[in-house]
C-alpha cells in the first residue's frame, strides 16, 4: 500500500465569503451603527472578531421600490437588519400566492382530467404560453443566474393589505435563519435605495454567542414568536397552565447543531459511496450521561443509537416534534433512588435544531401535571445493564439493515417517498406511464434507485420535511402547496437558475428545455434555450392523488412518509 500522505488544505470556517464585494470600508461603516457599535469586542475570541464576522458573513444590499426581500413560506438561511430606507412587512393574510411567484392551487375537474386523454402534448416538455405567464402584479429582472422580483403597484399593495414598517436597526428573518423554519411574512422595500444588511446564519450564530445583548434580543423574539406556539402543540406541554407555560418558555434553551449545508456534503459523500455514517456525526447527548434536560427536536433530524459491540447500532431517527430524554427523566423523577443515565446517544444527522427543557423544570413544572397513566413506563434493564428494547427501537419494526439504509441515505426526510416492493413489482412500468399521462406526457420520476433487500427507493421527489431545494429560489417558484404541503414548482416563475436542482441531495429535480404548443424549443433574446426545473408534484392537480401509486396493479408502489415508521412497517408486513 502506498504510504505517501496526500496533504490538502483543511476546510476553514471562512473559505468562502458570503459576499466578495464586502469591503473593509463597509465593515468600518457597520461598526459605527448599533448593535455592532455597542458590541464588546473583548468578548469575542481573537480568531472570530466582530470585524471578521461582518467582513465574511454579511452583505450590504440595496433594494429598489417594490423589490421583494423575503417571501412568506420561503426557506432561508440568512437574517436581515434594516440600515436605511423604508421596508414593510405584509401582515396576515399576506399577499396572494401568484404575487409570491407561486401556482394558485387548481385541482382539475372530471372533464379537464378526462381531456388529458387527447390533449396531452406529443413533444416532451411542451407548455402553453399562458402556463408560462407570471402574475401581472409582479415583474422580474434577471441578473445573471439570479433574478429580482418587484411588486408593480406598491401604493395599491399598501391600500389593499395590512402592512407594518420595519424600523432602522431592527432585525427580521432571524428565526427562519436559525431554526430553518419557513419565513412567516413577506417583506418588501417601499422606496428606492432601502439598504439592508444580510447576515448568513453562521455569522448570526457567532454574533449571538459572544454578544449578550443580541443574544437576549433574539432569544426574546424566539421565545415570544416561536417557542410558546411550538410547546402548545407538543404532547405533555399542551396541558400546562398559562403561567406554567410561560415559566417553561423562559427557562427553555435552544441550539442548532450540524451544518445547514448538509445536502452538499451528503451529495459529495454519496458520490463516493460513503454517505452519512454514525461515526461522522456530532453528538448532541451521549448514552451514559446524566439527563440534564428533555431535548425536543424543532427542525432537522437526529439519530438515536445505542452501544453495540465496539460500535453504535441505530435504533431510530427523530424528526421535528419528537423528544429525547423524557423517559429517563420521568423514570428518575418517580424512582430517585435508582436513577438512570441516558439510555441512548443522540447524534446530528445533517443539521438539527433542538430545544432543551432543563430537568429541574421538568420535575417541578411539567411532570407533576401529567397523569400517571400518561407517563412512559419505567425503564427496565437487561442482565448486561442495557435498557430493554423499547418502542423507540424502529430496527425491530423494519429490520436493522433497512433502518441503516434509510438513515445513511437520508430517506427519512421524505414525507412521500416512492418506495417499491421489488418482490411484487413486475417492472411493468404502469406507474411511469400513469405519471406521463398525468403530466402532459412527461414522466416525472425514474423507476430506479437505491435498493435494500426487496425495497427500492425510486428516484422521485420525496416532498421532504426539510426541503433544502427551497432554499435560495430567487423567485419563489419552488414552494409548498398551500393546502397539502407538497413541494411544487411554478413553471411561470421558474427562471432555470438551477438553485433547487443543485441543492436537492437526492437528484430528484431535472432541468429541461421547454417547448411551445407546436413543439418548438423556446429561446430567450440571446437565442439560448429556456430552461425550467421539473419534478414530481405528487399529482397535486389531479383527482384521486398520486397516479403512480394508484396505477400499480400489484400494490408494489407506495408513497410513504418515512417519518412514520409504524405505517411503513405495516406496509412492509402487509
Amino acid at each position: 500500500m502506498d504510504s505517501t500522505l496526500v496533504i490538502v488544505e483543511k476546510p476553514q470556517r471562512w473559505d468562502a465569503r458570503f459576499d466578495e464585494q464586502m469591503s473593509e470600508a463597509d465593515v468600518d461603516r457597520l461598526l459605527t451603527v448599533p448593535p455592532f457599535s455597542v458590541m464588546n469586542a473583548e468578548k469575542f475570541p481573537r480568531k472570530l472578531s466582530v470585524r471578521d464576522i461582518l467582513y465574511h458573513d454579511t452583505s450590504i444590499k440595496r433594494y429598489r421600490k417594490g423589490e421583494i426581500v423575503v417571501r412568506q413560506g420561503d426557506y432561508g438561511t440568512s437574517a436581515f437588519m434594516v440600515m436605511s430606507g423604508k421596508v414593510r412587512v405584509v401582515l396576515n393574510p399576506g399577499l396572494p400566492a401568484s404575487v409570491l411567484g407561486r401556482r394558485e392551487p387548481n385541482r382539475k375537474g372530471f372533464f379537464r382530467s378526462l381531456a388529458q386523454l387527447w390533449s396531452n402534448a406529443r413533444e416532451p416538455e411542451s407548455f402553453r404560453h399562458s402556463q408560462l405567464k407570471a402574475d401581472a402584479r409582479i415583474v422580474r429582472q434577471d441578473e445573471g443566474d439570479s433574478a429580482k422580483v418587484f411588486l408593480q403597484d406598491v401604493p395599491r399593495i399598501l391600500d389593499e393589505h395590512k402592512t407594518a414598517m420595519i424600523e432602522h436597526g431592527e432585525f427580521f428573518g432571524e428565526i427562519a435563519a436559525l431554526s430553518r423554519m419557513p419565513r412567516t411574512a413577506t417583506i418588501f422595500a417601499e422606496e428606492d435605495g432601502a439598504e439592508l444588511l444580510e447576515i448568513r446564519w453562521q455569522g448570526l450564530r457567532d454574533l449571538m454567542r459572544y454578544d449578550e445583548a443580541l443574544r437576549t434580543h433574539i432569544d426574546q423574539i424566539y421565545r415570544e414568536r416561536a417557542l410558546a406556539t411550538f410547546l402548545q402543540s407538543t404532547p405533555f406541554f399542551n396541558g400546562l397552565a398559562e403561567d406554567q407555560r410561560r415559566w417553561v418558555v423562559e427557562k427553555t434553551e435552544f441550539a442548532t447543531y450540524g451544518d445547514y449545508d448538509w445536502s452538499g456534503d451528503y451529495k459529495r459523500l454519496a458520490q463516493t459511496g460513503t454517505p452519512g455514517r454514525a461515526d461522522h456525526e456530532s453528538i448532541i447527548a451521549q448514552e451514559g450521561d446524566y439527563p440534564d434536560g428533555v431535548i425536543l427536536i424543532r427542525a432537522g433530524f437526529a439519530r438515536l443509537s445505542q452501544k453495540f459491540g465496539h460500535g453504535h447500532r441505530t435504533l431510530n431517527y427523530l424528526g421535528a416534534g419528537q423528544m429525547y430524554g423524557f423517559d429517563e427523566i420521568a423514570h428518575n423523577w418517580r424512582n430517585p433512588d435508582s436513577a438512570l443515565p441516558l439510555q441512548y446517544t443522540l447524534r446530528v444527522i445533517g443539521y438539527t435544531h433542538v430545544l432543551v427543557i432543563p430537568t429541574a423544570i421538568m420535575e417541578t413544572v411539567v411532570l407533576p401535571g401529567i397523569p400517571e397513566r400518561n407517563l412512559p413506563p419505567l425503564i427496565t434493564r437487561k442482565d448486561d445493564g442495557a435498557a430493554k428494547i423499547s418502542k423507540r427501537d424502529a430496527a425491530s419494526l423494519i429490520g436493522p439493515d433497512l433502518l441503516e439504509f434509510l438513515t445513511e441515505n437520508r430517506f427519512f426526510n421524505g414525507t412521500a417517498t416512492m418506495t417499491i416492493d421489488l418482490d411484487r413489482c413486475t417492472r411493468c412500468d404502469d406507474c411511469v406511464r400513469a405519471c406521463a399521462s398525468t403530466h402532459n406526457n412527461n414522466p416525472r420520476f425514474l423507476r430506479h434507485g437505491l435498493v435494500s433487500g426487496n425495497i427500492m427507493v425510486a428516484n422521485a421527489c420525496m416532498h421532504c420535511g426539510d426541503p433544502v431545494c427551497m432554499i435560495g429560489c430567487p423567485t419563489g417558484a419552488i414552494h409548498r402547496d398551500a393546502f397539502e404541503g407538497q413541494v411544487i414548482i411554478n413553471p411561470a416563475t421558474c427562471i432555470g437558475c438551477k438553485a433547487c436542482f443543485t441543492n436537492c441531495p437526492y437528484d430528484a429535480i431535472r432541468m429541461v428545455e421547454v417547448r411551445d404548443e407546436k413543439g418548438v424549443i423556446m429561446v430567450d433574446q440571446e437565442m439560448k434555450p429556456i430552461i425550467k426545473a421539473t419534478k414530481c408534484d405528487l399529482c397535486v392537480e389531479q383527482m384521486g392523488g398520486p397516479a403512480c401509486e394508484r396505477a400499480c396493479p400489484h400494490g408494489a408502489l407506495a408513497r410513504m412518509n418515512l417519518n412514520d415508521l409504524d405505517a411503513f412497517a405495516k406496509w412492509l408486513k402487509r
Partner: protein, 274 residues
C-alpha cells in the same frame, strides 16, 4: 392476519359462494327460467366485457376510478368465476360444433394465458430481486453493448501487453457470440445456470496457460461474463413479464369478437328452439 392473506381468504370465500350459487342455479334454474342458458350466457358475456375494461382503466390513470390493484384483484377472481360460468353455460359438456369449439378453445387460451400471467407476476419479481443487479429493461441493450466493448478491449489489450494471443483467441472462440446479444433465454427462464458454469470453467481452464498479467486480465473478463449473464437473466424474465400481456390481450379481444358473432348466431338461429 396480514392484509394480503385476509384479502385472499375473502376473495376465495366470495368465489366459492358465487360458484356454488351458479351451480345451484344451473341445477334448479332450467326448471324455473325458460332458456336458462341465455341467462348464463349474458352474465358470462357481461363479466368478460367488464374484465376487458381493466385495460381501459389503465389508460385513464387521471380519473378516480379506483386503484389498479383493486381492479386486478377483481379481474383475477372474476376471471376464475368465468370458468364456472362457462361450465354452467355449456352445461358441463364439451361443445361439439366447430364454431362453438373454436370459441371454447379461445376461452381456454385466454384463461390459461391469464393464469400464466398471474403465476409469472407473482413468481418472477421475487426471482429478479433475489438475483439482484436491478436494471431498467430499456437500458439493457446499452449496458450489454458497453460490456461487450469492455470485454473486447480487455481481450485486445493483452496482445501488445504480453505478446500473446491466447486470450484474444479464446474471446473470439468462446465469448464473442455470448457478448453479441441476449443468450440462454429459455435456460434463464427455467433457472438453469449451467451455461454460466460452463463458460467460467473454460475461463478457469485457460488460466493454466497464462502468465500473471494475463490472469489478471482474464479475471476481469470473467467478471464481465458474470455481469452479462446477470443482464441476460434480467432480460429473459423482464421480457416475459412484459410480453405475456401481448398474448392475453389479443386473445381477449378475439374472444370478445367471436362472442359477439356467437350472440348473433344464437339469436339468428334460435327461432324454433324452446
Amino acid at each position: 392476519m396480514r392484509f394480503f392473506a385476509r384479502r385472499r381468504w375473502f376473495s376465495v370465500f366470495a368465489l366459492i359462494l358465487l360458484s356454488s350459487a351458479a351451480v345451484l342455479a344451473h341445477i334448479h334454474g332450467s326448471a324455473i327460467v325458460p332458456r336458462f342458458n341465455y341467462v348464463t350466457g349474458w352474465v358470462l358475456f357481461a363479466v368478460i366485457l367488464f374484465l376487458s375494461i381493466y385495460n381501459v382503466r389503465k389508460k385513464l390513470p387521471f380519473l378516480p376510478l379506483g386503484s389498479s390493484e383493486s381492479w386486478l384483484q377483481f379481474h383475477v377472481y372474476a376471471g376464475l368465476f368465468t370458468a364456472v360460468l362457462f361450465a354452467v353455460h355449456v352445461s358441463f359438456k364439451v361443445p361439439t360444433g366447430w364454431f362453438e369449439g373454436t370459441l371454447a378453445w379461445l376461452y381456454g387460451l385466454v384463461m390459461i394465458s391469464g393464469l400464466a400471467g398471474l403465476f409469472l407476476s407473482r413468481a418472477a419479481p421475487k426471482r429478479l430481486t433475489t438475483f439482484g443487479g436491478e436494471v431498467l429493461f430499456e437500458r439493457i441493450p446499452a449496458i450489454r453493448s458497453a460490456l461487450r466493448k469492455q470485454a473486447e478491449a480487455l481481450a485486445l489489450t493483452s496482445i501488445p501487453q504480453v505478446q500473446s494471443t491466447t486470450i484474444a483467441e479464446f474471446y473470439v472462440r468462446d465469448l464473442k457470440d455470448f457478448f453479441e446479444g441476449p443468450r440462454n433465454f429459455w435456460l434463464h427462464l427455467f433457472q438453469i445456470r449451467r451455461p454460466l458454469g460452463t463458460l467460467l470453467n473454460h475461463i478457469t481452464d485457460l488460466n493454466r496457460y497464462l502468465d500473471e498479467k494475463e490472469r489478471a486480465t482474464l479475471a476481469q473478463i470473467a467478471e464481465l461474463v458474470r455481469q452479462k449473464d446477470g443482464l441476460d437473466y434480467h432480460y429473459a424474465l423482464q421480457l416475459v413479464l412484459k410480453g405475456w400481456l401481448f398474448t392475453h390481450i389479443p386473445l381477449t379481444y378475439s374472444l370478445l369478437l367471436l362472442t359477439l358473432v356467437h350472440v348473433v348466431l344464437v339469436f339468428a338461429f334460435s327461432g324454433g328452439a324452446r
